[in-house]
Symmetry: C2
């Protein structure tokens, strides 16, 4: 059986330590941990980096040290809620570039950004969209205002690294792993990027048929 990498041993020790500390407590600095655990600073740094990426530690800026992340609340979102644009969100921004109309909004829970939702539409098909859009859920708006009928939908889910722009919107570091849910039908090309440490995509499969569950 191959040996457990040294940094992972360090991570296990740090997780033990984390379990005992309440949220927002300052976490011991790298140097101190290196002395106490008898492991190199490089090893400790690697372990801490992973804990930051996983949202267990929060790295301060400048002279602020690292602190323990408060117990994380994970929000459950169903594909149906994402597609129907029913998640709580900030006001949507509308941009038009040539013939592509983009509607983007930040999904929030408890004043914290947990995702970004983007939809691309064919601009010429929706004249006056920017002036008329009243910030109701997008699908409902499109069907009542433009009589759009949405067909069947193909969706897929994967994991990507947050671009600097998305990271800024989500309040995480660039290259943090995020969950990406995309879908495509005859009308729209959309995707939602979710903070992996704050949101899950939920699904329910009903006996016999397999069906989504709107939680």
């Amino acid at each position: 059986m191959p040996a457990i990498p040294r940094y992972y041993q360090a991570k296990a020790r740090l997780l033990d330590l984390l379990g005992d500390l309440p949220g927002n407590t300052p976490f011991p600095p790298e140097r101190e941990l290196s002395d106490v655990l008898g492991m190199s600073r490089t090893t400790i740094r690697k372990a801490m980096n992973e804990l930051v990426l996983e949202g267990r530690l929060i790295r301060g800026t400048g002279r602020q040290g690292t602190t323990v992340a408060p117990p994380k609340q994970v929000h459950r979102l169903s594909l149906d809620v994402l597609v129907q644009d029913l998640a709580t969100r900030e006001q949507a921004a509308v941009r038009i570039t040539r013939d592509v109309l983009t509607v983007e909004s930040v999904l929030v829970r408890g004043d914290e950004p947990i995702g970004v939702r983007s939809t691309c539409l064919c601009a010429s098909r929706f004249p006056g969209f920017a002036e008329r859009y009243d910030d109701t859920p997008l699908r409902r708006f499109l069907s009542t205002t433009y009589r759009v009928r949405f067909g069947d939908l193909r969706a897929w889910c994967t994991t990507t690294l947050a671009t600097p722009r998305l990271a800024r919107l989500l309040g995480v570091r660039p290259a943090t792993p995020v969950l990406s849910v995309s879908w495509l039908d005859l009308v729209e090309r959309s995707w939602v990027v979710l903070r992996g440490d704050r949101a899950h995509l939920t699904m329910a499969q009903v006996q016999g048929s397999a069906q989504f569950h709107a939680s």
Copy 2:
């Protein structure tokens, strides 16, 4: 508008370079890229690390340098295929620890590992499992051999960092972001960890009802 981080500018330049190079080509070393692009080695390293994590570059071991990853093939797997244990896989390993029976298999496509599937069952409920299990899809085996009826299912999907053990099974570096699909019903607690750069979870939503599609 905030400035684009320097390492991300480097990444964009490296991606341009990558676009011109066929798979398995040696990629220029860090030092050379630093000279040519006029950026620090730290910046280049950060950009390259992200490209390795995204599966665009392959880091060699020892004296082997970094090479361009061959065009990646992304495999689509539906929740139904994962739950029903219908994906191509290596022979399953069965372990029993106290009253927990664990069945684990590596999902493969084209001789490459793309995921790991684990199911935990209550051992006392399935006497003689280890001797009787014949490596057919797990759900089918349980329903024919033990007359199990599976109820409705709740599933959720998130992103996590590969543990060293999973990383070894998947042939990636520890802490590579992976997609984690979990489900729970009255009989089993299961999860599949998928390589984010090799596999997508697919879903289909049929007009009116929302339904999974077994691709």
